[in-house]
């Protein structure tokens, strides 16, 4: 195992500030408006969305060398227990109870994505670091590989996961503070939950997680990898960091090892910034096909995200409240 202390001084400063990593530069936001994309629901921390949209329209991914070797000795920390990784089809299984209410796979993904944004918004109010957000979103996604949204209302599970993650990541947020900001963020009755609801749900979430609380994230490998590739300038760091943030709008963290997600984000970023990393990737002993597939998944998401409108999310959530 490699020491965890291998990040750049900039990285260190950031993590100690307990702030969110700013996404890409403002100039990209400007470009996003000219690209005429409809106002996306995913707005926070996702300036990279627009960047990738541009990438999609024009840039082609470099062709990959054919002789990618096995993922065996990548010099980054591996997840301690691979058993937490799931197959995509298990993650995409819509619970029977939810199906009966008419929830499609599309709805399922949409609701999870919306809840990831909800967690982020709440987290920004109570000011916790990005890592807590990432852990909370992972908890939420893990819960719904086992439990139905019908029985476990996402609008309660999301803040509960943030509450639990804040404890697990040693940056405890008081439940009453969360309740306060929930009310501030959403006027909608359906989001209204009290402290006792969160505490009750905390126990259920713990059980659904089978008490596994440690989550490994791509952020940790990002810095050493960028440094190794000689791409650890501010621009690339911020871009890749933003890309990693966006991956939590998807289920990637449940399916792929974190360091491969980090590599996929570096891959996309290097293509976007015209950095030639082919030789560097070639030297890594990782299955580049997996990295490429993850990259494609991320790009697919950027392409389709503009279709995720408020109305569609509300329609999906509406189904949950219907009596069958």
């Amino acid at each position: 195992m490699t020491p965890r202390s291998e990040s750049s001084p900039r990285q260190q400063r950031r993590s100690s500030q307990r702030r969110f990593q700013p996404a890409a530069r403002p100039s990209h936001r400007r470009r996003s408006t000219t690209s005429g994309a409809p106002k996306a629901v995913v707005s926070n921390n996702s300036a990279t969305l627009a960047v990738a949209a541009i990438l999609l329209s024009g840039a082609a991914l470099p062709s990959l060398p054919s002789q990618w070797r096995d993922a065996s000795s990548l010099p980054v920390s591996q997840p301690v227990e691979g058993k937490h990784l799931l197959d995509q089809e298990d993650v995409d299984m819509v619970n029977t109870l939810d199906k009966e209410k008419g929830i499609t796979l599309e709805d399922f993904k949409l609701i999870k994505m919306h809840m990831a944004s909800y967690i982020l918004k709440l987290a920004q109010q109570v000011k916790v670091r990005q890592r807590v957000v990432a852990t909370a979103v992972t908890y939420m996604r893990r819960v719904y590989t086992k439990k139905s949204m019908t029985e476990y209302d996402p609008r309660l599970v999301a803040p509960t996961c943030l509450y639990l993650a804040s404890k697990a990541e040693e940056s405890t947020v008081q439940a009453r503070l969360l309740v306060f900001y929930i009310k501030k963020l959403y006027a909608d009755e359906k989001y209204r939950y009290e402290i006792k609801d969160i505490l009750e749900m905390e126990m259920k979430v713990l059980e659904a997680l089978n008490y596994y609380l440690v989550v490994y994230h791509p952020y940790r490998s990002l810095s050493p990898l960028l440094q190794d590739a000689g791409l650890n300038d501010l621009n690339m760091t911020q871009l890749t960091w933003g890309l990693v943030n966006d991956t939590y709008k998807m289920d990637l963290i449940l399916v792929h090892p974190p360091h491969l997600i980090a590599l996929a984000c570096i891959y996309i970023a290097s293509v976007l910034r015209d950095k030639d990393t082919t030789a560097w990737f070639e030297e890594l002993r990782v299955d580049m096909n997996v990295v490429k597939n993850i990259s494609m998944e991320i790009l697919d998401f950027y392409e389709s995200h503009r279709m995720f409108t408020e109305e569609r999310i509300n329609a999906a959530l509406q189904k949950l409240t219907l009596r069958p």
């Binding site: 195992m1 227990e81 404890k167 040693e170 940056s171 969160i198 126990m203 713990l206 609380l213």
Partner: protein, 415 residues
């Protein structure tokens, strides 16, 4: 609260037996796992009235013990909610190293001491390999099973480390086991703090009494310096930059041999490397395991053959009487555990004298041999205290408010 069905089933799985102890955040029961026939210790985590859900310390412990699976680390077998409380199921441990050290009927041979130290080092090496600092190493947290195996327990203060620039509280460990950098207020520290504490345990095994019994943080440093000499800048260059650094009057180090007359040369060499002032120069747990102390004669005893306190006769269920409180298993003077919980909010004034809780308590009671201590070669004459040695220090109240702020435990504010 709606207890989901599965929890009922799980609760039915375990046959509750007698109470083993009352901790600050819950009661520990002995129980039989009906599926395996195994004896277990179940800890019921009381949900506080502070409206903050699952106890933070308990959550830390669950989080880390789910990841740490090693023969020398206590096993978290199961966890389940029942009647609104979280229950943790641990393997049952017979006794702990403190009871062994204190029991004057026990003779520890050099091979026995070596074995206990080696098992502790192995458990700790596994923790450090997984980037976990224990931060509460002391004999009382080193549990011993019926097969003689020693296991690290009580991860309520433990944390993941290794993230750069992450600041930690220095208010960890019981004072007698606190490394000098912590006493000087270091906020960024590493695995060396566990090594120092383990060195204190090693010394305690050799002396059969706590080695450096400071009565305050300042006094603790004084005790350390009088044992090993005041550190010089060449010994520990970063010392002067530590937040709470104060200059101490220079005292030279007495020969280590004079403090541990019975120890072998190898033992003294290892001990001095573990007691190195500069945490950067201090021996690592892995290096300590490779030290020639462990490969030279006598070889470590087989755990099975290690001397242990005579097990108390099994109390029958019939004569188990709650009124008589057989629950006070550990003597009251063991109330020295680092307890970040603040039961004071519950208006329970006697909490202060309560026996220590935490996870060290799922062990069988051993004879209270405090009365036998008088014959022991203690550093202080305790006769004036009614034959009882003074309480081991828990983190004192000033420390505790500090803890509240520093341990990221602020969530339990009264209002």
């Amino acid at each position: 609260m709606a207890a989901p069905d599965p929890s009922k089933k799980v609760a039915d799985r375990y046959l509750k037996r007698e109470v083993l102890g009352e901790g600050t955040y819950g009661v520990v029961y002995k129980a039989i796992d009906t599926h395996t026939g195994q004896t277990v210790a179940i800890k019921k985590i009381r949900l506080g009235k502070q409206k903050e859900g699952v106890n933070f310390t308990a959550l830390r412990e669950i989080k880390l013990l789910k990841e740490l699976k090693d023969p020398n680390i206590v096993e978290l077998i199961d966890a389940f909610p029942h009647k609104g409380n979280l229950h943790l199921v641990f393997e049952f441990m017979e006794t702990d190293l403190e009871a062994v050290i204190r029991d004057r009927n026990i003779f520890l041979s050099p091979a026995d001491t070596k074995s206990y130290l080696q098992m502790t080092l192995k458990g700790l090496a596994y923790c450090h390999k997984k980037w976990v600092l224990h931060r509460d190493m002391k004999p009382n947290n080193l549990l011993i099973g019926s097969n003689g195996l020693l296991k690290l327990a009580d991860f309520g203060l433990a944390r993941m480390f290794g993230s750069p620039d992450r600041r930690f509280t220095h208010q960890v460990f019981a004072r007698w086991y606190r490394a000098p950098e912590l006493l000087f207020g270091a906020k960024q520290y590493g695995s060396g703090v566990d090594v120092w504490a383990l060195a204190c345990v090693f010394a305690e095994l050799l002396l059969r009494r706590p080695f450096l019994q400071g009565t305050s943080d300042i006094d603790q440093l004084g005790k350390i310096f009088s044992a090993f000499g005041t550190p010089t800048a060449s010994q520990w260059p970063d010392m002067v930059y530590l937040p709470d650094y104060v200059e101490y009057q220079y005292v030279p180090a007495p020969p280590l041999r004079s403090l541990f007359p019975m120890a072998t040369d190898d033992a003294l060499d290892l001990l001095s490397k573990m007691f190195t002032y500069d945490p950067k120069a201090r021996i690592s747990v892995q290096q300590a395991l490779e030290h020639r102390y462990f490969s030279s004669a006598p070889l470590p005893s087989d755990p099975d053959k290690l001397p242990r306190p005579a097990p108390k006769k099994e109390p029958k269920a019939s004569d188990f009487n709650l009124q008589e409180a057989p629950t006070v298993l550990s003597p009251p003077r063991k109330s020295r555990r680092v307890m970040p919980e603040r039961d004071g909010f519950e208006g329970n004034s006697q909490q202060a004298d309560k026996v220590d809780g935490g996870f060290g308590d799922f062990r069988q009671t051993t004879d209270d041999n405090s009365g036998k201590n008088e014959s022991a070669p203690m550093s202080v004459d305790f006769s004036i205290f009614g034959l009882k040695p003074p309480n081991r220090p828990t983190i004192n109240s000033a420390d505790r408010t500090h803890l509240k702020r520093k341990l990221d435990l602020e969530f339990q504010q009264p209002e």
